[in-house]
């Protein structure tokens, strides 16, 4: 087949992924006058960012003037169990207020205080009310604003185009092979810098809050191109996901419900979180229901309720209650806000939650409690990047947002990820723009034909051309998801992780025999799901191996056989990388910057 007429699109910078981070990065590049393109797997404005509900964390100090960026930094580090990239956490906290105000300037809707300032709400792990929000649909608003602004800047968006492979010229990035879903044809993007902003890979689990797009595409592409994946074992299980009905199992119930007064109860009606307060947080957490109620009424002397502890603590508590037989009928616990707040308040502050439960589960949250349980929610780990430039070890390859790792350490605080999108989206855009501007030497003409011939063979001849399908993509995918749920979940151990590694290895060999029943090239979603499964298996492999080898418990990675945190042996980052012999792991020490948080800042 002759590929001389293959569509080629040239940009200075190409952003892969049109979520909060991707669009923000593209806006920054376009602002520097560079030709910028975004490719997105789904339609513009429908990225996973729209599902974010709680808010965006920034120390604006509008509701509590005692807040400042140093406390935000401290909270982030405490939440991440000090495994965060210190420099990234510092930049994140320092620049968050500016990025939020900038978004407001671009037209984002926010709930306001009576004086007209951006209102902020409480959230787990944050010392002060820090979350700028609009109802409980902040993510949707952020992406709407970014989308509208992006259109205003005239950035080219190539929708429903899946990134397949990075093209390297002497180990330097020079382009990307993409696949147009609508026509089923390849496209070659020639570019000087690529920013990966493809999000995480939560779809490798069965019970997850993530959407269809989250199949670890960027992680897989980076891994294959030689980049390193950092701290992959740290996968966050959000404590409150819906558990009923089965079709919505895993969908998020925002932490904002707890921030606005919701409490967790077991089947005996007990507020069990009081039994699970870790020593480290004891001085900041209320130890009686009376004190917690006072805090809710606004008493600044009272301490926060234990429902607002960090997500890993709450998720484990819920799981323990369920395993002890004190769970709700469908395997979760009860989240009750009906008995705590009047109906009007709930409908005004949590309208999306109200509608979500009404429409998806026919439950009126102003009258009865919700059933919730842990769900795979976020990847703290991801592609390793330099803290200042956001560049990976592959020159010209950058990453930001959830697919970049290291910022959150061992556990992410709620709402820090929306801020991460804006702060590091902007940073990465700036760096990538600089890199592209300084790339004077044009890379040699990419040999289109041989490149695409191999892609054609890999994808079309092997998959569409095969008459006998011995393996089905849905079967392999379901098996992988079930195994990740059972073996690499909230509670892990040596035996389970080892089994997971073996299962994934078997699935990878079975995957080589997968076929598709849809033989048409145009809009072949079955083929796309095969490509996604390919990426997901690589990501799952990295996670299972990393989890097996970290023999300690830290943050969201909890080992039943190594329950203590082991700073002596494991205050370091795990790195998974590809070799000719498959996946390999190594460790690097945590870089503590000169700037250390003070112990008492208020």
């Amino acid at each position: 087949m002759d590929y001389s007429d293959i569509q080629t699109i040239e940009h200075d910078v190409l952003v892969v992924g049109a979520g909060g981070a991707g669009i923000r990065a593209a806006i920054e590049c376009a602002d520097k006058g560079l030709s910028t393109g975004i490719i997105s797997k789904s339609l513009l404005g429908k990225a996973h960012t729209v599902m974010a509900e709680g808010g965006i964390a920034a120390s604006l100090g509008n509701v509590d003037p005692r807040d400042n960026w140093k406390i935000h930094f401290r909270d982030t580090m405490r939440g991440g169990k000090f495994l965060n990239q210190w420099r990234m956490a510092e930049l994140h906290a320092r620049h968050a207020p500016d990025r939020v105000r900038e978004l407001e300037e671009w037209g984002a809707v926010f709930d306001r205080t009576d004086k007209g300032l951006i209102s902020q709400r409480n959230f787990g792990g944050h010392r002060f009310p820090r979350l700028a929000h609009v109802g409980d649909r902040t993510g949707l608003e952020i992406i709407r604003t970014l989308q509208d602004f992006c259109v205003h800047q005239g950035i080219s968006t190539h929708m429903e185009c899946t990134g397949l492979d990075l093209v390297l010229d002497k180990d330097k990035v020079s382009g990307l092979v993409g696949y147009w879903r609508e026509t089923g044809r390849f496209v070659l993007f020639k570019t000087k810098a690529i920013i990966l902003a493809t999000g995480g890979g939560g779809k490798a689990w069965k019970v997850t809050s993530n959407s269809w797009e989250y199949t670890g595409d960027g992680l897989g592409m980076a891994y294959r191109a030689g980049a390193e994946l950092i701290d992959m074992e740290f996968t966050q299980f959000h404590p409150t996901g819906m558990v009923w009905p089965p079709s919505v199992k895993g969908i998020l119930v925002t932490e904002g419900v707890r921030g606005d007064g919701g409490i967790l109860l077991n089947s005996e009606g007990e507020r069990f979180m009081f039994n699970y307060i870790p020593e480290k947080f004891a001085s900041e957490t209320a130890d009686t229901e009376e004190e917690a109620s006072r805090w809710l009424e606004g008493d600044k002397e009272a301490r926060r309720p234990p429902e607002l502890l960090t997500r890993d603590v709450v998720a484990r508590a819920i799981k323990k209650e369920v395993e002890a037989g004190r769970g709700s009928p469908n395997g979760g616990v009860f989240l009750d806000i009906a008995s705590r707040r009047p109906a009007e308040f709930i409908k005004k502050k949590l309208p999306s939650m109200y509608h979500q439960f009404k429409e998806l589960a026919e439950i009126d949250i102003t009258e009865e409690p919700m059933e919730v349980g842990p769900t795979l929610h976020y990847f703290m780990g991801g592609i390793r990047v330099n803290s200042d430039s956001q560049q990976t070890n592959v020159p010209g390859l950058f990453a930001c947002g959830e697919c970049a790792g290291g910022m959150h350490g061992a556990n992410r605080l709620g709402s820090n990820s929306l801020t991460e999108c804006l702060v590091f989206g902007a940073y990465t855009g700036r760096s990538a723009a600089e890199h592209a501007t300084n790339s004077k030497n044009k890379s040699k003409e990419i040999d289109v034909n041989s490149l695409l011939l191999s892609e054609e063979k890999r994808i079309f001849s092997n998959l569409l051309g095969k008459e006998k399908n011995t393996e089905k993509v849905s079967v392999i995918r379901d098996e992988m998801q079930l195994n990740m749920d059972n073996l690499v979940g909230v509670f892990r151990n040596e035996e389970d992780c080892l089994k997971a590694c073996k299962v994934i290895s078997k699935l990878k060999s079975r995957f080589k025999k997968v076929g598709v029943s849809d033989k048409e090239r145009p809009f072949n979603t079955e083929l796309v799901s095969v490509l996604e499964l390919d990426f997901m298996l690589d990501v799952a492999e990295a996670i299972a191996h990393s989890a097996l080898n970290r023999k300690e418990s830290r943050g969201s990675h909890y080992r039943n056989d190594y329950v203590k945190r082991d700073d002596l042996n494991f205050l370091k980052h795990s790195l998974a990388y590809k070799t000719n012999d498959g996946l390999k792991l190594k460790y690097i020490p945590v870089t503590i910057t000169k700037w250390k948080p003070q112990e008492r800042v208020y």
Partner: protein, 257 residues
């Protein structure tokens, strides 16, 4: 363990037949119905049915979806003749003769996937961004906006771009140039935003045959909207402000910039 929904399990069946409209661009000259029989579980939504078919019966069934919780707006289809989000439509509620077709009034690419290029262009045409003379530097803090000011446009800011309103609007079906409910509601949202100064610019675009004057207030867009955006009322209000603006310009051209 299973718990029945509050409303009775209306369809007391274990299996259900579902008709899905299929269209394969490489071999079909027009769409046709395909029938599938699937097991019916309590609280199944139409999207679950489509996913079941794709995973177990016919891997080539093609449709869009993403969040499965009614917030991304990807899964719009015609269910039993009505524009709906498949992830939010319980099979119990739509009854026995379940028919799923692509959204009406859009060109069909394949099966339930439709061509939305014209919609994306129309969204762009109404200038959906803050237009003001000078940008405020972020060091000065955020623009102040009271909760009352936010309420003026909050409803129209809820749009998830699901396009069900375009599918429901008969004008969209007959006039290709009609800007349409969602885009016009979006322009209203920016007009009413106290931080924006671009109302006049946008009114020039929307006060036209292709804009608000193409609408004769059928109101179907508002009744199918899953997010209560009420595009119909936004359009009528644009007619009002648009006409007043035109009159002002005719009578007092000197005083109107």
């Amino acid at each position: 363990m299973e718990a029945p929904r509050k409303s009775l399990l209306k369809l007391k069946k274990k299996q259900i037949a579902i008709k899905v409209k299929g269209y394969r661009p490489t071999k079909d000259s027009e769409p046709y119905f395909q029938e599938y029989k699937i097991p019916l579980k309590p609280d199944m939504v139409v999207l679950d049915a489509l996913n079941y078919i794709k995973d177990n019966i016919d891997g080539s069934l093609t449709y869009r979806w993403s969040c499965r919780m009614g917030v991304c707006g990807s899964c719009g289809s015609n269910v039993n003749g009505k524009p709906k989000l498949t992830c939010e439509t319980f099979i119990d509620d739509v009854g026995d003769n379940l028919t799923v077709e692509p959204m009406a009034r859009f060109p069909i690419i394949k099966d339930l996937v439709v061509d939305i290029d014209s919609f994306m262009t129309k969204l762009k045409d109404v200038k959906p961004w803050i237009i003001n003379e000078t940008e405020k530097p972020i060091e000065k803090g955020e623009n102040l906006q009271t909760p009352e000011q936010v309420d003026l446009y909050k409803q129209q800011s809820m749009c998830i771009n699901c396009m069900l309103c375009y599918s429901a609007c008969p004008v969209v079906g007959t006039e290709d140039d009609f800007i349409g409910p969602a885009a016009l509601a979006l322009s209203y949202r920016y007009n009413m935003d106290s931080r924006d100064q671009g109302e006049k610019e946008r009114l020039k675009i929307t006060s036209s045959e292709e804009g608000v004057y193409g609408c004769s207030w059928i109101g179907e867009c508002t009744s199918v909207c899953p997010k209560n955006v009420d595009p119909a009322i936004a359009i009528q209000k644009l007619k009002l402000t648009g006409s007043l603006q035109t009159i002002k310009e005719l009578l007092l051209p000197k005083f109107v910039k």
